[in-house]
């Protein structure tokens, strides 16, 4: 924050390059960075995945635990998404409880997963009003090189897609967890795509240097349900700049195309 000169020079360079449709790292404005997904890397978790978007590196783990339902949804399990910006991921991250950025990230990822109706929480109920499965989705940012929302959303999705739910027997008021697993009851699949606006251009999958000089970003999540219907299920503008209505609609169009591209990378058996 103390030095405002470097960002403004960088911003000018990025905008100039974008005039000819190019970016600092050689991509076109609508290119994603290389996306790598690995699943089942933490055997003690019921599901886990690491995702890289270029050098951005994120891990998500899923744990199932028996707990109480919310009073207003006694017949439904609970999904809880948290994110930690662990300090090895960036010289700017500090230890301590999640700040507004980590909280926003977790809540945006949560909305994508929740609103798509990915997880069939009605099937996570064990004893109505008393005991349900809680799905803890924990995100750790391991290397912050831009576009944490898309990487975190994809890692959380892949961890859930590949997770296994312990089988449980209910006898009276007691729940006995067996040493067997059933698949997690999933429905629609949400994919999140973020674009940065810099000047009057939209940049798909912004890098850290693009984020540092952007006006604002727009994240859009698309859900594909079991009838192959594609819908918008979540959206979030971030940053202190503005969008024209035309830019807003254009961003949503681009995000839709890119979500289809990302969807093809999902662990096989899923799409």
């Amino acid at each position: 924050m103390t030095n405002q000169i470097i960002p403004s020079v960088k911003r000018r360079q990025i905008i100039e390059l974008a005039e000819s449709g190019k970016r600092m790292d050689g991509r076109s404005l609508t290119d994603l960075r290389k996306v790598e997904i690995k699943t089942n890397i933490v055997e003690k978790a019921e599901g886990s995945a690491t995702v890289k978007f270029g050098d951005t590196y994120v891990i998500a783990g899923v744990k199932f635990e028996i707990g109480e339902p919310f009073p207003d949804t006694p017949n439904e399990g609970v999904m809880s998404v948290s994110a930690e910006f662990v300090p090895l991921a960036s010289p700017g991250f500090e230890t301590g409880p999640p700040d507004e950025n980590a909280i926003e990230l977790a809540r945006v990822v949560d909305r994508g997963l929740r609103e798509s109706k990915l997880l069939d929480t009605s099937k996570l109920c064990l004893i109505p009003g008393k005991k349900v499965w809680i799905a803890w989705v924990d995100i750790f940012i391991l290397d912050h090189c831009g576009n944490l929302i898309d990487a975190s959303s994809l890692a959380s999705l892949c961890a859930l897609l590949t997770s296994k739910l312990p089988k449980a027997e209910v006898v009276g008021d007691e729940v006995k967890v067996l040493d067997e697993y059933v698949p997690v009851p999933l429905r629609a699949i949400p994919i999140n795509v973020t674009l940065a606006k810099i000047g009057d251009k939209l940049f798909v999958d912004p890098s850290l240097e693009e984020e540092e000089v952007m006006d604002c970003r727009l994240s859009v999540a698309f859900a594909l349900d079991d009838q192959k219907q594609e819908k918008i299920c979540a959206m979030q503008k971030g940053g202190v700049g503005t969008l024209s209505f035309e830019e807003l609609l254009r961003a949503v169009e681009i995000a839709k195309v890119k979500s289809q591209e990302l969807r093809k990378l999902l662990p096989s058996g899923e799409k």
């Binding site: 918008i232 299920c233 979030q236 503008k237 971030g238």
Partner: protein
Amino acid sequence: MDKKLITEDGRRLDGRRFDELRPIKFQIGVLKNADGSAYVEWGRTKILVGVFGPRESHPKHLAMPDRCLIRARYHMAPFSVEERKSPAPSRREIELSKVIREALEPAIFVELFPRTTIDIFAEVLQADGSTRCAAISTAALALADAGIPMRDLVSSVAVAKVDGSLVLDVMDAEDKLGDSDMPLAMMPSKNLVTLIQMDGLLTHEEFVKSVELAKKGCMEVYAKQKEALDSHFRIASKEEV
């Protein structure tokens, strides 16, 4: 989910048509200590906003050499909702504070006040849906009351899909039982979006229509904001005479 949110004759639970705002009553300059303040009764949603600044940044290392720091806090009274809310800030309040700040900041000439801070505090006294939209619209008036130079007001409203229809200015029951919620804020005379969030399931077509409806709503909120400012400054200038 059995409850019908739209009656047979196309009216909503409180009798509104699909594209109708709730009664909105802004009051400007309601607090003595704050540099600017405004209060809104937006249907049953009641919010008080106070603004301090530009003032010295504290702690000092937050000060920025080339602009003013904007801080915003969205905070709910424990008694503002059905179940008492714990006084500690929830994750929801922290996220909303961030998006409210980002919705207002584009309208403020931050370059004019380097090394200072403007604090925007929104206290929700009663929450009945669309509180972030009401907070943003009211905060814009409090900023004006504080005499802070702005590019434009910021006007905000939410659109929901309930029982298959898109409706303007979401109230609590519609938010809880509806299929989607999309708050949007804009600088009305600049035609620029400063906030958009969405959750729920919308087809592309529904989304485009939602944006149109939100824009119409924002323009109506804008008219009410200007009216409130006019009447406030008319009274203020009379008092000075």
